[in-house]
Each structure stands twice: as C-alpha cells, then as structure tokens.
Symmetry: C2
C-alpha cells in the first residue's frame, strides 16, 4: 500500500499545482480547465477601466495573465484628443478614458508606466473606400465595455462593432461589419513609441506578417531599439489586399521630378516585404450582408516564425468565443488565489482589479517554444520556465514581488530566475529591464532586494550562490558599474555627494543602503559572516546624511559640508533636486525601513519620530503616487500607542486614491506597484521592510480573506486573514491562530505556518 | 557502325553546344571550362572604362555575363563630386570616370540607362575608428584598373587596395588592409535609386543579411517599388560587428526630450533586424599585420534565403582568384563567338567592349534555383531557363536582339520566352520591364517587333501562337491598353493627334506602324491571311502624317488639320514637341524602314529622298545617341549609286562617337543599343528594318570576322565576313559565297546558309 499512497499523494500534489495554475501558462491542461470550472467567478469584480484616467496609464484592453499581447484601444493620436495627445506632451499610455478619437487597436502595450513605449501594431476596421491616414480614418466610439480578457466598442463612423480578447501571445479581434465595402487596416507607422521603422508583407489573402521597431523607453538608450514581430491571420480571405507606404518628403531638385513626392502609395495584391517609417497593410472585403471577420495577431520578440507558431499553438483551432472563455478561465484561476468576503461591491472591484493589475507585469517575454532574445545582442536563447520581462524594479521591489512571493510563489521563483538569466546574459542584474533591454531608468540596485526577500520567504528553487555573486558584483565593482554610479564615494564616504551625481545624492545613498541591507540579510542565512558584518555596516551609512537642524536627511557636498541653503520641500512634482530623485527630503527620509530604530534615535526618540512622520502628512508632503514614501503609513506601527494611525492613514488613502472609476489609481500604476499597495493594504498586511520577511498589520477592509497557498512552497494550503470589515477603529488585538501576538508586525514564516490571522477592532 | 556514328555525332553536338555556352550560365560544366581554356583570350580587348563618361552610364565594375550582381565603384554622392553629383541633377549611373570621391561599391546596378535606379548595397572598406557618414568616410582613389570581370583601385585615405569580381548573382571583393583597425561598412541608406527603406541583420561574425527597397525608375510608378535581398559573407570572422541607424529628425515637443534626436546610433554585437531609411552594418577587425578580407555578397529579387543559396551555389567553395578565373573564362567563351582579324588594336577594343556591353542587359532575374518574382505582385515563380529582365525594348528592338539572334540565339530564345512569361503574369508583353516591374517608360509596343524578328530568323522554340495572341491583344484592345495609349484614334484615323497624347503623336504613330508591320509579317508566316492584310494596311498609316510642304512628317490636330505653325527642328535635346518624343521630324521621318519605298514615293522619288536624308546630316539633325535615327546611315543603300554614302556615314560616325576612351560612347548606351550599333556596323552588316530578316551591307572595319554559329539554330557552324579593312572607299562588289550579289542588302537566311560574305572595296 505504501507505493500506492506515495503515487496517490504525488498525484494530488500535481493536481493541486495544476489547479493553482502554477505551471507555465502556456502549458494549460484539461485538469486546470476543469478545476477552473468549479471556481466562483472572480473576474466579475475586475473593472479594466480603473487606472485609465488620472495618468494611471493602464488600459482596458484584453490581456492574458502576464501576457505579451494586449489589444488596447488606441485613442491618443490626433488633435481631436488634445490636450491628452501623444505628440504634444509626454504621454505613456495607448488609451485615455476621456479621449474621444480612436485610431485603432495596438497589440503590444505597457501597463502603468511613466514613459511612452510600445503601443504598436495597430489594427483598425473601417468601411467604404480605402483611407490609410489615421487622422482621416479615425473615429469617435461608443458602446464601450470591458471585462477581464474582453473589450468591445462601436466605431461610430463605420457602425462597426469591435470585440477583442487575447491569449498570452495573441491578440484576437472580432469585427462586425455592415454590408458593403469593409477594410481591416494594419498600421505600422502609428504608435506610442518614439521609435520608427517597420516591415510588412502580405503572405496571402488570410495572412500578413511583419515587424516594428520599438525602444528608446523614456527617450533614452536609442541604441537599444529592437524589433517586435507579428503574424496576423484573418478568418475570411480578403477580396483584395495590399500595403501602403508614405515615403519621406524629398526636397531639392529631385523633388521637382517626383510628381509623387511624399504621396502615400498603395500596392494592391503585392506580396513582398515593404519597409518604411510610415507603412501598413490592408485587407479589403465586399460583404453582401452584415458579416464578421475574426483577426488573430500573434506577436514575438524573437522572429516572425515564432510569432506564427505562437498564433498557431495558442489559437489556431479556436474561435473568438473559445479563446475568450479560456482566457477568462485562466484569469479566474489566478484571481481565485485570494477570496475575499465582506466589504462592499466597490471594495471587491477595487481589490480584484488591483490584483489583476499586479498580474500584468512582469510579463512574458519568451515564445511558446521557450525562445527569447538575449539581452542587448538579441541572440535567440531558450528557457524552460517563463522568462519574464518589464522589471520596473525601483517600483516593484517595495511590494509587488512580496505579493507574488505570498500568493504566486511559482511566478516569483520564475521572476528571480529571469533576473538571473539577465545577469548571465548581460553581466548585471536588471534595474529596469524591458523586453531584453536594460533601460537603466531610475536609480538604485533593486534586484538583490527582491532576491533576498524571495529567498527569506522560503522560495529557494533558484541558484542562490549565483544570485549572491551578482548582488555582490554591483555592490563592489568600482569602475563601469551601471547599477551603482557613484559607488566609489558611497563606499569611501558612506554617501554620494552633490558632485558624485547630478541629482539624488541622498536618495541614491538610501537605495544603496537598502540593497546592502539585503545583501547582509542573505549573507547571514548563507553563513557569510564577514559579508554580513560589512554590508550591515554599509546599510546604515545614510545616517551620515541625517541633519539635526531639519531632523531630516540633507545632501552633502564633496567636502563633507551640508548643501546650503537647504529647502527640504523642494523636489516634489519632478522638480530638480540635488539630494533626491523624484521626491524631496520629506518623501525620502523615512525610506530606511530596515533601520527605523536607528532613524528614531537620530531624530531623538519615539515622539520626535512620530511627530516628523505625522508632519509628512500634515504638511501635505505625502505622495501616494510615488514609491519612496508609500510604506510611511505603516511606520506608525513601530511606535507604541500610535499604531492606530496606520489604520487611519491607510484607510484614508484607500478611500481617497483607490476608486472604482477610471481615475481610481493615484497616478501611474508603476507596473502594478500602486495596485499591490492596495491589495496588501486591503488585506491588512503590508511588507513594510523590503528584504525583511515580515508584514506590518493593519485593519483589513474585508471580513475574511482566504489566500490559497501553493503547496510547492507552503505547507498550509491556505492563509486566512479575518478582519474588522470596513470599520476604522483602533485595533483591539491581533491573533495568530489562537494566540494573541504582541505588536503590529508578523513574520512571514509564522503567518504562513499558522495560517490564520485575526485582526479585531475595538468597535467589534 | 551506324549507331556508333549517331552517338558520336550527338556527342559532338552536345560538346559544341556546351562550347558555345548556350546552356544556362548557371549550369557551367567541365566541358565548357575545358573548351574555354583552348580559346584565345578575347577579354584582353575589353576596356570596361568605355562609356563611363559623356553620360554613357556604363560602369567599370565586374559583372558576369548577363549578371544580376555587379560590383561598381560608387562615386556620385557628395558635393566633392559636383557637378556630376547624384542629388543635384538627374544622374543615372553609380560611377563617372572623372569623379574623384568614392563612397563605396554598389552591388546591383543598371548599365547604360537614362534614369537613376538601383546602385544599392554599398560596401566600403575603411580603417581606424568607425565612421558611418559617407560624406566623412568617403575618399579619393587611385591606381584604378579594370578588365573583364575585375576591378581594382586603392582607397587613398585608408591605403586599402580593393579588388572586385563577380559571378552571376554574387559580387566578390578582396580588401587589402594595412595593420591596425579595419572596418567593412555595408551602407544600406546610400544609393542611386530614389527609393528608400532597408532592413539589415548581422547573422554572425561572418555573415550579414538584409534587403533594400528600390524602384520608381525614371521617377515613375513609385507604387511598384520592390525589394532586393542580399547575404554578405566574410572570409574572416569580425572581431566586432554591429549596425548603425540614423533616425529621422523629430521636431516639436518630443524633440526636446530626445537628447539623441537625429543622431546616428551604433549597436554593437546586435543580431536582430534593423529597419530604416538610413541604416548599415559593419564588421570590425584588428590586424597585427597587413591582412586581406574577402567578401561575397549574394543578391536575389526573391528572398534572403535565395540570396544565400545563390552565394553558396556560385561561390561557397571558391577563392576570389578562382572566381575571377571562372568569370573571365565565361566571358571569353561568350566573346569568342565573334573573332575579328585585322583592324587596329583600338578597333578591336572598341568592338569587343561593345560586344561586352551587349551581354550585360537584358540580365538575369531568376535565382540559381530558378525562382523569380512574378510581375507586380512578386509572388515567387520558377523558370526552367533564364528569366531575363531589364528589357528596354524601345531601344533594343532596333538592333540588340537582332545581334543576339545571330550570335547568341539560345539567349535570344530565352529572352522571347521571358517576354512571354511577362505576358502570362501581367497580361501584357513588356515595354520597359525592370526586375519584374513594368516601368512603362518610352512609347510604342516593341516586344512584338522583336518576337517577329526572332521567329523569322528561324529561332522558333517558343510558343509562337501565344506570342501572336499577345501581340494582337495590344494591337486591338481599345480600352485600358497600357502599351498603346491612343489606340482608338490610331485605328480610326490612322494616327494619333495632338489631342490623343500630350507629346509624340507622330512618333508614336510610327512606332505602332512598325509594330503592326511586325504583326503582319508574323501573320504571313503563320498563314493568317486576313490579319496579314489588315496589319499591313495599318503599318503604313503614318503616310497620312506626311506633309508635302516640309517633305517631312508633321503632327495633325484632332480635326485632321496640320499643327500650325510648324518648326520641324523643335524637339531635339529633350525639348517638348507635340509630334515627337525625344526627337523631332528630322530624326523620325525616316523611321519607317519597313516602308522606305513608300516614303520615297511620298517624297517624290529617289533624288528628293536622298537629298532629304542627306539634309538630316547636313543640318546637324542626326543624333547618334538617340534611337529613332540610328538606322538612317544605312538607308542610302536603298538608292542606286548612293550606297557608298552608307559606308561614308557609318565610318564617320564610328570614328566620331565610338572610341577607346571613357567618353567612347555617344551618350547613354541604352542597355547595349549603342554598342550593338557599333558591333553590327563594324562587322559591315546592319539589321536596318526591325522585323525583317535582312541586313544592310557596308564596309566592315575588319579584314575578317568569324561568327561561331550555334548549331541548335543554324546549320553552318560559322559565318565569315571578309571586308575591306579600314579603307573607306566605295564598295566594289559583294559576294555571298562565291556568288556576286546585286544590291547592298542580304537576307539573314541566305547569309547564315552560305556562311561567307565578302565585301570588296574599290581600292582593294
């Protein structure tokens, strides 16, 4: 019987892992589908329009879990969308809720970022004669609606109903045309990116292939521009097909001979590659009666062949409706990892939409066959798991990866492995990696913080020695160190000076401190005693920048003197500030969660600390939309008797900034960081100190939260948090299992081991 | 014994066919090579610099017989080449002998054309640090030399010796670098064409692949632009490689954020596709000592895969020297079809260089595997023989194809078959076909003239019924007829009017007359009696435009009245002229060789005819560089007692316009038409009437000319023309074999049947 039971138990483990969807998303199997069928429908609580205004920069278009493809309505081109028009200002989203003028649907997009990029491979259905100028073929739209994995609208000018869905690497659209002439345009000129250049080729009356150059994220590193490939398939053969090209405008004597100078050219029935900055392809139909055409666009960052294989493997034998059903199921499987009870309908929508936003980025880079481009050179490599991309780590090291470690540890494991692949390929861990390019956006050396945090939470199925080596490399290499500019000063003086860097000498010092703290923590568990000591010391060097005059951090000059005169308020709202990047002294001083005790002492003890912390809010210096201060509300938990302020602040912030409306995010979602803040906050726990496996506790929004744990990483199959509902009073007590705990922090290992956390409010 | 002798004779036929090189050039075999080895070296008489000045628009770069690839030095870019600089004027050649500033070597080029096109895929060796701006990396050059299939120079700035050769579809270069840093640049932005857009991808440290958009020949039909593909291989792995891209210049608010706006980007070790109007790839080397790198660039109009296969099949296992030897041998095999004896060294060079120029275009379109792009849509098709391209038929119908029919009938057969393929694919015979696009340049309907001429010369291994159908189609379809605009008027009135066409109403009428004459001649041998009658009548309708007042042709208005006032001189030198395109009444009136008798009668008999013909020369109206009048000198043969003037004029024209110097062509070579004129004229025979298989006779330049006939088409294995050397006196008598013939014309069939023509001068 032993062998039978072993087999049985293994089988159960496998089934449960499948149920959790922790296998690579591309290898779905019947078990997963069947399991998903019995789940409640959590997708009903997602409102994809949240974050589509107020610069949330999310889009309502369908996407699969961590999908590479995403069919977003594109309404940021053309004067009719002013003032939120892409060429007239810095705009980083393909869709803005209040914009009226639609010029198509882009098939690769970023969600919740602050820089314009991607937003390319635009498809647009039109009717009547062929028009290839988006300013002319664009239209208002109505009857807009979106649910998880589904978007629909009506394009007013043509009376065409559009429906869209997506698999991991394929955008799928269904166009409902009236009778008459119909066109499907594939515009490869228009895009959100500031890169240009595309290739397109009509393969047959049902297929178009091509590529589009993208890159220069944040108007930076243009030399790392790279291609995205696609194959588009149409359910009905076109009656006519072709391409268009608008060439550049010639000047001088040659222009005199060119009667066609700068005129758009149409090439009907042409089947070779066409190249240019402003090109596109079209399919034309003549319908006797109202008809639908389904279009599938497979994408890849490796090759056209892979884009075609992605399309075929993920969608070849499936109708639009089947794809939509499967994608919704996949989402539900993921969203169901957390079940909340209690709270209002809006609370649920805010919560699940936030959770949905945390499952978009990091997203999938590798193709169905496992191939993905190597960093920088873009040679083709192959991965066994998922190679994730869009690592906006300065944002996400603070909470998103902590959420993944708790709820989707199999994904977090793969994300760490992806970071190590990036290290293998480029020699450095990522900072802001995007589709196998290192954009080097923002500051600090955040990857190691995430690695330590993940490892300390018990997710250890990666090469930790390599990870440690990579972390130490960026912490110690003095020359040509792309992750830690100014490292020499940092090591010698303990801080960067206003001479070392042109901006953010204090904040960068703090970031390095947090990274060094992470190295120390990992060194400790790896029994590297010397390193532990060294990096623990380095981790608190920010103290040298603490200025008693202001009771805040303050930048220092190269000679060790304070920067004078000094206005701690300067630096908010992207003002240039010598000491701080994207923030000021108020927004950064407390960003030393690993040394809150030390900071308290510097400030003169508990009371001055709490007063100063309270000042941040009172002086309106708290910025919910910016990462450095987002853990501030939870710092009140450190001060006995002041813990209630955590619940107070969090509750206020949730109410003020997180809403079931398009402007329901405080600003850029920062690839899910804002949303992760909401998810944790609403669950009543927050990972206040990156690289330290503990949570600050506050009042959950819901009565009961059940997190289904992945048994590959956690012994318990669930974690239940019981809360005080929406009541905002002081916490009366916190129980772990049946035991009252002291204070308002809880270790990750205790939490998942015991499996029940009860937060009781005084009013209960 | 019978069976043995049959086998033997078959073997001999096969051997001889091989010897003649009449098999597809791509399927060379040992027999051909060995046969070639025993031949005299005729390549020594070719001077590839003839035609590289005075707008001859040939280039001295290596090319195989009817090659697709051609490595031409490119010295027409940049102000340093003014006034003959490509962007400052209408310039149609990649190389001009007197220009000093070289910016690379282009790998696909046109020879002897009047419109800028191709001249792309530019390679350039440089030394020192990487510079990608051609205005900066360009250099003067020296030590220039060229022979058949070979070109060399020294690039002064870098002290790099360049050698180049070519196979049919592969350009081969050998760069001799000094010690130090060396670069090989592949510039895909720069080009003679006015099209833009390219893709490039570094495949490995020894291979680059890509494509370049070309088209809009004569600044026309931009919608028919198309790609040329390439694969470049390098004999030594590069130490570094990469690409560059110069993006367009942004303006407006976005430009403020782009610190890199319009700056050239370098991407080292990058291995994905890069797309743009101004891009290139580079290989970099660090040489300890002087070193050579051989570079092979395979081209294709079908695909990158085919370009690679072309490269591999034609050159993979061969060194530069082996390729050069083989290419020279192939040329010698072809040039040796005609052996001249007597004449000066310059005469021989002028003759063989002219013959060489007739063997460049039409050139090969199909790849090694037989694939070629279909007209317009560019789907991939496959041919058994050679699919020829570059059919500048308004030029070449007058003499080049007649030369091919006589000397290279297997090629001429294939050219007719190519024309029929074009008909199959596009529905129309070619007019000015270029790489599977119909440029519709110039006027008339010339393909049928060539088809009839070929058929009547006994070259009949093509589908003549299809050809006849195609010819009749363009002669009879009244609407949407791309070959014969104005056909309605032409059929109704017998001529086009100044209302029918905006230019060239008379000359176009004449062209249609010649075409209709050709249809009539073919109808006659195909026993289509009604058609023969109809088209014979149509063929002389130009007579309605004969104006007694001027004794010249004159355009008519729509109401049948003469255009008044009328200046017959107007229209030379590309002036706009209502009646004539590229010419005037003098240069066109006699262009009715098929009805010289009729013209004589219109003019009032022999004497007025001769006087008017003499007037053309006396009034300086004869234009050697323009096709309509190039058979005028031979028309004197029609008038008894005046025949000597043919020899006189031809001799004068040869001396004046055809020289062993860069300006040794009268103007554009017109894809070999000027050269074919020289070849025939120097041999003492000229195909004075297109579509009539006869030659006008004049004094040959050489004592003896031996044409080795192809036994597949001709019973005799040779045709010998014996002449009066360079003496310019009147012809005393003409003998065909041993028989004196009357008059100064000889039928093609008699000539090739008897095999000996002796032209004796009075002074002999």
């Amino acid at each position: 019987m032993k062998s039978f039971s072993t087999v049985l138990s293994r089988l159960l483990v496998i089934l449960f892992i499948s149920f959790l969807g922790c296998k690579n998303e591309t290898s779905k199997d019947t078990t997963t589908k069947e399991a998903a069928q019995v789940l409640k429908d959590f997708t009903q609580y997602v409102n994809p329009f949240i974050g589509t205004s107020n610069f949330g920069t999310t889009n309502p278009g369908p996407i699969a879990v961590r999908g590479m493809a995403n069919v977003s309505p594109f309404n940021v081109a053309g004067p009719k969308n002013l003032p939120l028009e892409k060429d007239s200002r810095w705009l980083s989203t393909p869709y803005i809720n209040e914009n009226p003028f639609l010029t198509g649907f882009s098939h690769v997009n970023l969600s919740g970022v602050g820089c314009p990029e991607l937003g390319v491979i635009l498809a647009m259905p039109t009717t009547g004669s062929l028009e290839t100028n988006h300013l002319k073929y664009g239209s208002t739209y109505s009857e807009e609606n979106a649910t998880v994995g589904y978007y629909t609208n009506k394009i007013d000018k043509y009376n065409v109903k559009v429906e869209a869905s997506a698999t991991t690497r394929v955008g799928v659209s269904k166009y409902h045309f009236p009778a008459g002439d119909a066109n499907i345009l594939l515009n490869l000129g228009l895009g959100l990116t500031n890169e240009e250049g595309a290739m397109v080729k009509v393969v047959s009356s049902t297929e178009i292939e091509g590529m589009r150059s993208v890159g220069s994220f944040c108007y930076y590193k243009p030399e790392e521009a790279y291609p995205v490939y696609f194959v588009a398939r149409f359910s009905k053969p076109a009656d006519k097909f072709g391409i268009w090209k608008k060439p550049r405008t010639y000047t001088g004597v040659e222009a005199d001979w060119m009667t066609y100078n700068a005129e758009t050219r149409i090439k009907e029935n042409y089947t070779k590659e066409v190249i240019g900055d402003s090109i596109g392809a079209f399919m034309r139909y003549k319908f006797d009666k109202p008809s639908t055409v389904e279009m599938k666009i497979g994408v890849s960052y490796v090759s056209i062949e892979n884009a075609r294989e992605n399309l075929e493997k993920e969608t070849a034998d499936k109708s639009f409706d089947e794809i939509l059903t499967d994608t919704k199921k996949e989402w539900n499987t993921h969203l169901s990892r957390i079940e909340v009870e209690g709270g209002t309908a809006n609370d649920k929508t805010i919560f699940y939409t936030a959770l949905y936003h945390t499952l978009i980025h990091p997203s999938t880079l590798n193709d169905f066959n496992g191939e993905y481009p190597k960093m920088k050179t873009r040679e083709t490599l192959k991965t066994d798991g998922t190679r994730y991309t869009v690592f906006s780590l300065w944002d996400t090291y603070r909470n998103l990866h902590q959420l993944m470690s708790l709820v989707y540890p199999e994904q977090q494991s793969n994300m760490v492995k992806s970071m190590l692949q990036i290290y293998d390929e480029s020699g450095w861990l990522p900072k802001w990696e995007l589709n196998a390019t290192e954009t080097t956006t923002m500051v600090g050396d955040p990857a190691g913080i995430i690695i330590t945090d993940t490892y300390l939470k018990g997710i250890r199925d990666f090469d930790v020695e390599k990870a440690y080596e990579a972390m130490k490399k960026s912490a110690t290499q003095l020359e040509n160190n792309p992750l830690r500019p100014g490292i020499k000063d940092y090591i010698e003086k303990g801080y960067l000076t206003t001479t070392t860097v042109h901006s953010g000498s204090v904040s960068t010092t703090q970031e390095y401190n947090v990274s060094d703290f992470a190295i120390a923590q990992l060194a400790k568990v790896l029994d590297k005693k010397d390193d532990y000591k060294t990096f623990s010391e380095r981790a608190i060097s920010y103290r040298k920048l603490f200025n008693k005059e202001f009771n805040l951090l303050r930048p220092k000059n190269d000679d060790g003197s304070w920067v004078t005169p000094y206005n701690p308020e300067a630096g908010a709202n992207f003002e240039k500030n010598l000491g701080f990047i994207e923030g000021n002294a108020w927004q950064y001083t407390f960003m030393v969660a690993h040394d809150t005790k030390g900071l308290k002492e510097l400030m003169g003890g508990d009371t001055p600390f709490v007063n100063r912390l309270e000042d941040v809010f009172d002086k309106n210096q708290f910025d919910m939309a910016n990462e450095p201060d987002i853990n501030y509300p939870f710092l009140f938990n450190h001060i006995k008797g002041q813990e209630y302020k955590t619940g107070q602040k969090v509750s206020e912030l949730l109410k003020k900034y997180f809403k079931n409306t398009p402007d329901g995010l405080p600003g850029n979602d920062d690839t899910g960081t804002m949303s992760a803040w909401a998810v944790f906050s609403m669950m009543g726990i927050y990972p206040v100190t990156p690289a330290e496996p503990k949570y600050a506790i506050t009042t959950p929004v819901f009565d009961k939260i059940t997190i289904r744990l992945n048994n590959k990483y956690y012994k318990n199959s669930q974690l239940v948090i019981k809360g005080g509902g929406n009541k905002k009073g002081k916490i009366k007590g916190v129980k772990l299992g049946n035991t009252n705990i002291k204070g308002f922090f809880i270790n990750h290992s205790d939490l998942v081991k015991i499996g029940t956390l009860t937060v009781s409010n005084k009013q209960d």
